[in-house]
């Protein structure tokens, strides 16, 4: 009997430590995610601004080149080259506009991961509370704790609908009603 009581006490202490350590580690993960989100936000702002400025500059350059070409005599080859270059630029621009939408999706995924971590911290905190009862020798806390954990876990799953399934940056489906 004493052995069983001792085991319950040990289990309570162990779960308390798991709770405390787990919450501390998840706080670090949460901080890393926040830092990642900030860096991505800054990166996409710079990339988008740079892209827009570059496109504007190329457009001006293209217009100037076309004007010069029209003024030149015997400019047939040059005009064809300009048209080819313009078409190539347009293709790259379209591809970049699609690719530059990555931050919208990654920020949603990071936010989703952050909400799950917060939920997991809540579950671990609940484990810590129940473990204190176990550490005090109250074996009935074990079933209560198990049920509470399962309920909290289900609640967390239910509140976290996945909104981003994309695995590539290819354009999505279009449905008109």
């Amino acid at each position: 009997m004493k052995r069983q009581e001792s085991g319950v006490l040990e289990l309570g202490r162990l779960l308390t430590e798991v709770s405390v350590e787990g919450i501390a580690h998840l706080e670090e993960v949460q901080a890393d995610l926040t830092q990642t989100r900030l860096l991505l936000a800054e990166a996409i702002a710079r990339l988008s601004d740079g892209f827009s400025a570059l496109h504007a500059a190329v457009s001006v350059q293209r217009a100037a080149a076309e004007q010069l070409q029209q003024q030149a005599t015997g400019a047939g080859d040059g005009q064809a080259q300009l048209r080819e270059a313009a078409a190539a630029i347009d293709t790259h621009v379209q591809a970049m506009v699609t690719a530059l939408q990555f931050e919208d999706m990654t920020s949603q995924l990071i936010a989703h991961a952050g909400r799950r971590i917060t939920g997991l911290q809540g579950i671990l905190a609940r484990v810590g509370d129940g473990a204190q009862g176990l550490a005090a020798g109250d074996l009935t806390q074990l079933d209560t704790l198990r049920a509470a954990m399962a309920a909290q876990s289900r609640e967390l799953d239910g509140s976290l609908a996945r909104s981003v399934d994309q695995r590539h940056l290819e354009s999505g489906d279009i449905t008109l009603f």
Binding site: Q94, Q101, D104, M105, G172
Partner: protein
């Protein structure tokens, strides 16, 4: 006169790409940062088309569409959903709310422009 589009999305980078694409196609674009902001702007100014995200703080895209469809001035204005959500269930909800189309992100500029031209007639 250029037609005016209301682009509603909480992602600044996504809005920037939308503005870039739609302006290049000859449209005027007004941005809104979430559904509530979009509704405020739509109430104060008529738009020819509303393009909205689904998952946003304060008011999501479906709630925005329902609110707009409740306004007589937006009963016939085309509304397109542009979202990462791709499930049939969500598309059905969008249709029931009054959306005219469902576009899954990321968007291709040429395809988006084609769809916008089509729904604007």
């Amino acid at each position: 006169m250029a037609k005016t589009i209301l682009a509603v999305d909480d992602s600044g980078s996504l809005r920037q790409m939308l503005v870039f694409t739609l302006k290049a196609a000859g449209y005027q674009v007004v941005e809104a940062v979430d559904g509530r902001d979009g509704l405020d702007k739509a109430i104060h100014k008529p738009f020819d088309l509303v393009l909205t995200d689904q998952n946003m703080p304060n008011m999501d895209g479906l709630a925005l569409i329902r609110a707009l469809r409740g306004l007589p001035s937006y009963a016939r204005v085309p509304i397109l959903m542009l979202t990462t959500e791709s499930s049939d269930e969500m598309k059905s909800k969008g249709r029931a709310a009054g959306a005219n189309g469902w576009l899954v992100k990321p968007f291709d500029p040429n395809r988006l422009t084609e769809v916008v031209r089509k729904v604007l007639g």
